[in-house]
């Protein structure tokens, strides 16, 4: 069985959509390479980050390990989230674990 991994562009768009739902319109003008905590201040505190991680997991069917994965790094900007998600989906596909 083969699993098609979404392109980074598709992951990017879906990630932005998911974050916009969680964070609101304040997120619209935040560039994808921006540090979200710096750009959004208290709107992207640790608890909002946790909500966004859960939302990305749910959107792409992946699991983030709070011990093994450096969540502070990978979930600090949209670009990093996209890289993390793409790599995780590729790993999953390579291992034949995709649904």
């Amino acid at each position: 069985m083969t699993t098609t991994v979404p392109s980074p562009e598709e992951i990017h768009d879906r990630t932005r959509s998911v974050l916009a739902t969680r964070i609101g319109d304040a997120f619209t003008d935040v560039p994808s390479d921006a540090d979200l905590q710096q750009a959004l201040g208290e709107r992207y505190d640790s608890l909002t980050a946790m909500e966004c991680i859960s939302a990305v997991e749910s959107e792409f069917g992946i699991e983030v390990d709070f011990v093994a994965d450096d969540v502070r790094f990978w979930f600090s900007s949209v670009e990093r989230m996209v890289r993390f998600t793409h790599e995780r989906l590729e790993d999953t596909a390579a291992l034949g674990l995709g649904s």
Binding site: G24, L47, F66
Partner: protein, 338 residues
């Protein structure tokens, strides 16, 4: 030893300092350790509750000091997983948000088998009930405390699984209840009024009050037990931080004149409780502008989870806001949400 000061945020009026004696702190820790935690011998405490507040101070500072237990403070690191791989009997001092983290580590909690979670500062979240339910037949234990900065802990109960929520609260042994005020429109619900030797003394007064009425609405559930029905005041606790919705409404009205504003309480899967701002305006007032006007809320008032513009604020014929109608309309307002 001078009394220890704990400030309520001022969200329900001017900031107030409440003073507790060292003896009161020790009495509370000892009481909860014996009555709620079964005098368990912990080898480690991991606290997610800031020690500047009573709950964090009691179980992240006083209990470790009295029982000589090493403590790890994670109140500034809510995403950091507690150590779960060494079998050390562990007490986790939890906030509502902690349960989202624990829900990701249910298998590790089950394998560990010697973790006890203490929960307070706000209602147990769905994640708390989920974790408790999944770990029912393991060594994991979870208890929640009900109380306030003014009263200290008043009552306790186990954190129940998803299918057994609604367990009654049991008063702590040194707490007595007195008849509380009757809630508007519901004779069965009364505010929880208590007396105990652990009531705090308000700064500037000579002695603690004889008794104290909490905003919590309760109904009797047998001797020294009650069901919690809600709150009489417009207080919400956002991950344990108090927020008076009437005060936020006043601030919005003062900063954005002409708006019809209502703050509605909403449940929050991470923070337990939260609130959202709804407003109607005669002119073009952008929700982002309303949010910006709240950018600097005083005294640590939590910012709203969302701001919604609505065509009008729905009210009954007597002028009471139909909050359920407002919150039910949220998805349709998504474009105006910030």
């Amino acid at each position: 030893m001078p009394d220890i000061a704990f400030a309520t945020s001022g969200s329900t009026g001017p900031p107030v300092t409440w003073l507790r004696t060292e003896d009161q702190l020790q009495a509370e820790v000892t009481l909860v350790h014996e009555t709620v935690l079964g005098s368990a011998r912990f080898g480690r405490i991991v606290s997610y509750a800031p020690p500047g507040h009573l709950y964090g101070r009691l179980y992240g500072r006083e209990l470790p000091r009295l029982a000589d237990i090493p403590v790890t403070g994670l109140w500034d690191e809510p995403l950091t997983v507690p150590p779960l791989d060494d079998g050390v009997p562990t007490l986790l001092v939890c906030l509502p948000s902690t349960w989202q983290l624990l829900a990701r580590h249910v298998p590790a909690l089950a394998r560990h088998g010697r973790v006890t979670a203490l929960h307070s500062t706000g209602p147990a979240t769905p994640a708390a009930h989920h974790v408790a339910g999944r770990l029912t037949d393991t060594g994991f234990r979870a208890h929640e405390l009900l109380g306030s900065t003014e009263t200290g802990a008043v009552a306790h109960r186990p954190v129940a699984g998803e299918r057994t929520s609604g367990l009654p609260w049991r008063l702590l042994p040194d707490v007595e209840t007195l008849p509380g005020s009757v809630a508007d429109g519901d004779a069965a619900a009364r505010r929880l009024r208590v007396a105990s030797p652990r009531l705090a003394r308000r700064a500037g007064t000579e002695a603690p009050p004889a008794d104290w009425e909490l905003p919590d609405l309760v109904a009797p559930a047998g001797p020294r037990a009650f069901h919690h029905l809600g709150r009489a005041s417009r207080l919400v606790k956002v991950n344990g931080v108090r927020c008076d919705l009437a005060r936020v409404e006043d601030l919005v009205r003062a900063r954005c004149p002409g708006l019809d504003v209502v703050c509605a309480p909403v449940s929050d899967p991470v923070r337990g409780e939260h609130y959202e701002v709804f407003y109607a305006a005669p002119g073009p007032v952008d929700p982002a502008a309303v949010r910006r006007s709240l950018g600097r809320l005083p005294s640590g008032l939590p910012a709203p989870r969302a701001v919604h513009r609505v065509p009008h604020i729905p009210r009954s014929s007597t002028g009471k806001v139909r909050t359920a109608e407002l919150t039910a309309a949220r998805p349709a307002q998504e474009a105006e949400h910030v």
